[in-house]
């Protein structure tokens, strides 16, 4: 009996040891391989939109069905993940440690690609020139000459304005502000008419980022913006410092509601514009739903770029998101093929027409979209004319530096610090984060 007991204990201890060793063997980080992986099996896709947007899901269901049909033996397991960078980082940290997890992940351009780069694999060899040429927005996924993802859609910034309120303030609705000086003049007229010039809330600091990015496109040359993307341009100097100074000009020129610093960005920040009480609003392309709003839709038009210190050379727009293949994927080639496949013109067309996701595929037609969103015509014309796009500058900051910049500018707006000190704090963070982010540490 005792011998039996001893044997049971020995088996239990041995099993525990094996279990323990297995649990501990996950450490040590990711180890990218050059293996293309199997062309059969299940591709796990982490999708940030499939759980929250039924229109997106409907299109992606079609994508999955068609891809599986075209690739016998391949199956797609599309998993809804929260659109929160911190959560995705946590999940990816766990996946990288255990060297198992998704094959394809949806993340954000530039900052997240850089942060997660050690667990991603370059996909240059899986993309044909034709496929590459069909899409824009590669600047947010290309580092050190290697491509770490496929850009999804186009997300940019600009100013929506209400032509009816402009008219009420004696402003010409067909000649919207084209520069910061024009904006200040418009703000004066709108304030005199008792209309809030620009809606919005900066309680969380988001408005700081959006406004700076919009004005940066009217401050920097394309060359300067390209340098900014390498994270070597100081935030304390022009053109970034000039863009931030432009933001403060708008604040000092009473362009915003007096409660702007205490108003939450979502959803209260947009309420005044939506209620037809604020004449302008910094908006992103995916918010063109304003143009179909029964109350203000017919009056809403969009200003794609604003001059601050120079005539804009580019639009502040880049990849909305990115499909990236993980280094621990067992189906790297297949995952990369899926990434490109789902950004085909026909699927982007459907996403634009059903949910207003702006496309980065040059083969997408805006004809139907413009019928319901005529206010977006100036932007669409610029894109059709081949206007350059550069990722908004606040997207070209790591999460920490971005937090610092936005919250410091918030303090400047509250009169708690100077713009010089705010930019210095941002620059200090950039210097600290640069080696971490660029992989020299």
């Amino acid at each position: 009996m005792q011998r039996k007991m001893r044997r049971s204990v020995a088996i239990a201890v041995a099993a525990s040891a094996v279990f323990g060793l297995a649990a501990c063997s996950g450490g040590g980080g990711a180890n990218p391989t050059s293996d293309d992986g199997s062309m059969k099996g299940t591709i796990k896709v982490w999708d940030l939109l499939v759980g929250s947007d039924k229109n997106w899901k409907a299109t992606m269901d079609k994508v999955d069905a068609q891809f599986e049909k075209d690739h016998p033996g391949a199956k797609i397991d599309r998993i809804a993940q929260p659109a929160d960078p911190a959560t995705i980082h946590q999940l990816m940290q766990a996946a990288a440690q255990s060297k198992s997890g998704p094959d394809l992940i949806m993340i954000w351009a530039w900052g997240d690609v850089l942060t997660l780069k050690p667990s991603l694999v370059p996909i240059d060899k899986y993309i044909s020139k034709k496929e590459r040429d069909s899409l824009t927005g590669w600047d947010g996924v290309t580092f050190g000459g290697e491509t770490y993802g496929v850009p999804i859609g186009l997300q940019g910034l600009g100013i929506s304005y209400n032509t009816k309120l402009f008219q009420e303030a004696g402003l010409d609705p067909d000649t919207p502000p084209a520069s910061v000086d024009d904006l200040l003049t418009a703000c004066k007229a709108l304030n005199a008419a008792g209309i809030t010039p620009i809606g919005g809330g900066n309680k969380e600091g988001y408005l700081s980022g959006w406004t700076t990015s919009t004005l940066y496109a009217g401050t920097a040359t394309t060359k300067e913006a390209a340098k900014q993307a390498t994270y070597t341009a100081p935030f304390t100097e022009a053109p970034f410092a000039d863009a931030a100074a432009g933001v403060m000009k708008l604040v000092d020129g009473k362009c915003f509601d007096k409660n702007m610093p205490a108003t939450p960005w979502y959803p209260d920040g947009f309420q005044k514009f939506q209620d037809g009480k604020a004449a302008m609003q910094f908006t992103i392309y995916s918010q063109f739903g304003y143009m179909t709003d029964p109350k203000i839709g017919q009056y809403v038009k969009f200003i794609p770029s604003i001059e601050n210190t120079r005539t804009p050379e580019f639009l502040p727009a880049g990849a909305m998101n990115v499909w990236a293949v993980t280094s621990f994927s067992q189906h790297k080639k297949l995952a990369a093929e899926l990434a490109v496949f789902q950004e085909q013109a026909k699927y982007q067309q459907e996403r634009l027409d059903t949910a207003g996701y702006f496309p980065n595929n040059k083969g997408v037609s805006f004809d139907d979209f413009l019928k319901t969103h005529p206010g977006a015509a100036p932007l669409v014309k610029m894109l059709k004319d081949g206007a350059k796009t550069v990722l908004p500058v606040h997207n070209m900051q790591d999460a920490k530096t971005n937090d610092i910049f936005q919250s410091q500018l918030e303090l400047v707006m509250l009169g708690q610090t100077s713009l010089k000190d705010a930019l210095q704090a941002t620059e200090d963070s950039r210097k600290q984060q640069y080696p971490v982010l660029m992989g020299s540490q």
Binding site: Q2, M5, R6, S8, V9, A12, V13, S16, F19, G20, A23, C24, G27, G28, G29, A30, P85, A86, H89, Q90, M92, Q93, A96, Q97, T115, L116, P118, S119, K203, E204, G205, N259, P261, A262, T263, P264, D268, D398, A399, K400, D403, S407, Q408, E410, L411, L414, Q416, T417, Q433, V436, L437, Q441
Partner: protein
């Protein structure tokens, strides 16, 4: 000798190992191992993805010169300053309820309700209540105190005190429950004796109630200290995102940001471990002092002196 006898009772070490082994293994894997691993990570530079690189005491020296961490510690300190209120208020309320005031159950439920609400919801609710045109400012303007109707949520001098107040408000109901349970077990004859001796309510509270629930006070104090260091994160984040600037960034939010948003889990772990040791030392000192005071307040039979 005694040990040997006890061991025989369980027939063999094998039986002991069989029964205790699985639990000990789970504790070792899920509790002890992460702490050991955390202690190792604290001495590395690690982004959570690449293999950690040993960097000696760098993370610890960085802590000493990190102004944001010091601000965050100061903000958590503000919560700790209010700890006496956080500890005594639930006890006072429980004592009042224990006196069978009319509607005692209603009050008890009212105090406990905020505990049941998610901190994220409480944070958002207070954003609405304290908003520029929120109910509080509307009331203030309505009663002619418009000058006091400020932007509460972005006032850098007030925002941390508001977060601390929210934290206490949302958790003190738990303390009321704990103290109510403790008070229910006090022998009524102690109060009768105190009444006969002419003690008023406050004296009965101080000389009978407080010593009798000393154990609960100790437990609640430990809980309060732990909550001060670890429970402000959700409330603070949903209410003010740690801002404006760093005005409401608490040490737990700071650690979270470093670990999961700023790609510095090694640094975050170093802070976590230092705080763990600090809190541990503080609590040991508190419990020792408390025990000694308790010994001076009770005689050998456990009767308050």
């Amino acid at each position: 000798m005694m040990g040997k006898r006890r061991m025989r009772k369980y027939s063999s070490i094998g039986t002991l190992a069989l029964f205790l082994g699985p639990s000990l293994l789970i504790i070792a894997l899920l509790r002890v191992w992460p702490v050991i691993q955390g202690a190792f990570i604290a001495f590395t530079q690690w982004d959570g993805i690449r293999p950690p690189v040993f960097n000696g005491l760098d993370n610890f020296t960085r802590m000493l010169s990190d102004p944001v961490l010091l601000t965050a510690l100061g903000n958590t300190g503000k919560i700790l300053i209010l700890a006496p209120v956080w500890i005594i208020l639930p006890l006072l309320l429980a004592a009042v309820i224990q006196d069978r005031i009319p509607g005692a159950s209603f009050f008890k439920i009212s105090y406990v309700l905020p505990v049941l609400v998610s901190p994220a919801v409480i944070g958002v609710l207070f954003v609405i209540i304290l908003g520029p045109d929120g109910p509080l400012n509307i009331v203030l303007r309505g009663i002619g105190l418009g000058a006091l109707a400020i932007n509460w949520t972005v006032d850098t001098t007030l925002v941390m005190w508001i977060v601390a107040g929210m934290l206490i408000w949302s958790t003190f109901g738990l303390g009321v429950l704990l103290f109510s349970a403790g008070l229910a077990s006090i022998d009524e004859s102690l109060y009768e004796a105190a009444r006969i001796d002419g003690a008023n309510w406050m004296q009965r509270f101080w000389y009978v109630t407080v010593p009798s629930v000393r154990g609960v006070i100790e437990y609640w104090t430990v809980m309060v200290v732990i909550m001060a260091f670890s429970s402000a994160i959700v409330l603070g984040y949903s209410f003010s995102q740690g801002g404006p600037g760093y005005a409401s960034t608490t040490v737990d939010l700071f650690i979270y940001n470093q670990a999961f948003r700023y790609g510095a889990p090694g640094y975050a772990t170093a802070i976590g471990i230092t705080l763990f040791l600090l809190i541990g030392i503080l609590l040991v000192i508190f419990l020792r002092v408390s025990r000694r005071r308790g010994e001076l307040m009770f005689d050998d039979s456990g009767t308050p002196l």
